[in-house]
């Protein structure tokens, strides 16, 4: 116990020494808090191979696109965590990937104010590899009223899934939008109502990747995921009211 802690400290120090300049863009007032709360104080490195791409400013704070690309990371990924440090609901998703999932995820989120975005990949070297992005926002995305709730008859469309599969670069890119208000409990007295769990599965029902989703994900969640090679896939999703939704790519 003591030994691993010491190793962690040493490693941390080395990383700081070696990459002082590169790590400066990773520093934030909230890092220590989330390191403890979400990563359980486990060993980590800031790693620019984990790219967190965001637009330079959030034109629509209710739909801010994130693109996480960690395909350059060597080894096998055991866990992926995404969060927005200064959001009222910081967590975005927790992914348990299978062998077939590429380390590429795009998702649109709500942002309440300017915030660092973190993507942490737990690799088989036992380290969390952490990438950082920044969103500039005037804000208000989390407390803004729902757009789809204003549409007549929206309830009938909840859970409808539109999308496409694209074969490119030896991967199957799966793009999708799930019709859902993703109520986060912060707007208009409407209780939480959101898709909190999804899985990519193969034709036989075997799980290819598991996604825990949070209400910081925008309404009508829009996702891009990628599988290795030419893959058929199905999506299973469930909201916190127990409704289940199925799609086939």
């Amino acid at each position: 116990m003591y030994k691993s802690l010491l190793a962690g400290l040493l490693l941390g120090t080395c990383t700081t020494l070696l990459h002082a300049e590169e790590t400066s863009r990773h520093t934030s007032t909230m890092w220590d808090y989330y390191h403890q709360r979400l990563l359980d104080n486990q060993e980590f490195v800031f790693d620019d191979r984990v790219q967190v791409n965001t637009p330079p400013f959030a034109e629509d704070a209710r739909q801010v696109p994130l693109e996480i690309d960690a395909r350059a990371l060597p080894g096998t990924t055991r866990k992926i965590m995404l969060w927005a440090e200064l959001n009222p609901i910081p967590q975005i998703m927790v992914v348990t990937p299978g062998e077939q999932l590429e380390n590429l995820i795009a998702v649109r989120i709500r942002v309440e104010q300017a915030t660092p975005i973190r993507a942490a990949f737990l690799q088989d070297d036992g380290l969390w590899h952490v990438g950082t992005g920044h969103i500039e926002a005037a804000g208000g995305g989390c407390t803004a009223p729902s757009v789809i709730r204003a549409e007549e008859g929206w309830e009938k469309h909840v859970g409808e899934i539109f999308g496409a599969r694209h074969l490119r670069d030896n991967s199957s890119f799966l793009r999708m939008r799930i019709s859902h208000p993703m109520d986060n409990g912060l707007s208009g007295g409407i209780p939480e109502y959101f898709v909190d769990h999804a899985q990519l599965r193969d034709e036989s029902g075997r799980v290819l990747a598991d996604f825990e989703l949070f209400a910081s994900v925008s309404e009508n969640p829009t996702l891009t995921l990628a599988l290795k090679g030419e893959q058929q896939a199905r999506l299973w999703a469930r909201d916190n009211n127990g409704n289940e939704f199925n799609a086939r790519f």
Partner: protein, 308 residues
């Protein structure tokens, strides 16, 4: 003594504040003047003056086309008009509900403020939020600015103001509630924000690029001799139309291709702007906004239902 100094400082401040926009009306046709704003973005430095405001001096009155981004701008505009004519500003025609075009009306308390019914409705719904947003971006020079709601509703067709005739067109491409004004006496076309020239279009409220392209055909078919765009330099040839069609066509193609290729938003936002648009101010910035607003519809158009 102290009071005198303070007075002098205050006076200096007031003079500075009053001359802040440095408005220079330019004669573009008989009795027709344009105040050309910059092709930049809203900032504290420009006080929101990124817009073209025009006025026509008739036998009986001054007809103002849009009123500017702030009360302070409106006051300076009133002064600039007084330097040219002593006729009163009797009518303000608002081309659409965007804040840079309609927030100067307070400076003309005796003028009729006229707009399309759909524009008045958008002003009712979004006007205050837009004004607030302007305070955030422009700051101090917005002080005291409030939305003045239209008191007259315009119908498309011929508008007669005393003996002066204007042809009004109700179009949709920029905000779904866009007024274009053609002056048959002079051949001047006041295109509002249906035409941007040398400045990237703002697409935040467009119902779609196809609609906008149709409106451009409608406008181009008028017997105009001078085009006053909503943003960018006044032109005496069809260069603004050509550039608009080329640019909107590029955007449409870019978004269609990206959706078919399966790109997510960030990738589309990073698309390079073609060399031929190098002269268009803020193209990269507006591209990010355009992708944010329009790309979901392009995705939806390409996608199929996957539900089972």
């Amino acid at each position: 003594m102290l009071r005198l100094v303070c007075g002098a400082i205050l006076l200096g401040y007031c003079l500075m504040a009053q001359a802040a926009y440095d408005l220079q009306p330019k004669l573009v046709a008989d009795n027709t003047w344009v105040l050309e704003g910059s092709t930049g973005n809203f900032s504290k430095e420009n006080g929101g003056n990124i817009v073209n405001i025009a006025f026509i001096v008739t036998d009986t009155q001054v007809i103002l086309i849009d009123s500017g981004p702030s009360f302070a701008y409106g006051r300076e505009l009133a002064e600039a008009i007084r330097q040219i004519t002593d006729k009163p500003v009797g009518t303000i025609l608002l081309t659409h509900h965007h804040p840079d075009h309609m927030l100067g009306s307070q400076a003309f308390p005796h003028a009729r403020v006229a707009a399309l019914a759909s524009t008045a409705q958008l002003m009712q719904e979004e006007g205050d939020a837009m004004a607030e947003n302007m305070y955030r971006m422009v700051g101090d020079r917005m002080r005291g600015t409030e939305v003045v709601m239209p008191d007259s509703i315009l119908e498309p067709g011929l508008l007669e103001l005393d003996d002066y005739r204007l042809q009004l067109l109700q179009l949709h491409g920029h905000t779904n509630a866009d007024l274009a004004i053609f002056d048959p006496q002079t051949g001047v076309l006041f295109a509002g924000d249906l035409v941007f020239y040398q400045r990237a279009v703002s697409t935040a409220h467009t119902p779609g690029i196809a609609v906008w392209l149709q409106d451009l055909d409608t406008l181009a078919a008028l017997p105009w001799t001078v085009i006053v765009p909503g943003h960018g330099p006044v032109a005496g040839n069809d260069a603004p139309f050509q550039q608009m069609r080329d640019y909107l066509g590029w955007l449409d193609q870019l978004l269609t291709t990206a959706a078919a290729r399966g790109d997510d938003m960030n990738r589309v936002m990073r698309s390079p702007v073609p060399e031929r648009f190098a002269g268009i101010s803020l193209a990269g910035y507006e591209l990010i906004r355009t992708v944010s607003h329009l790309y979901p519809a392009y995705e939806q158009a390409y996608w199929q239902s996957l539900s089972e």
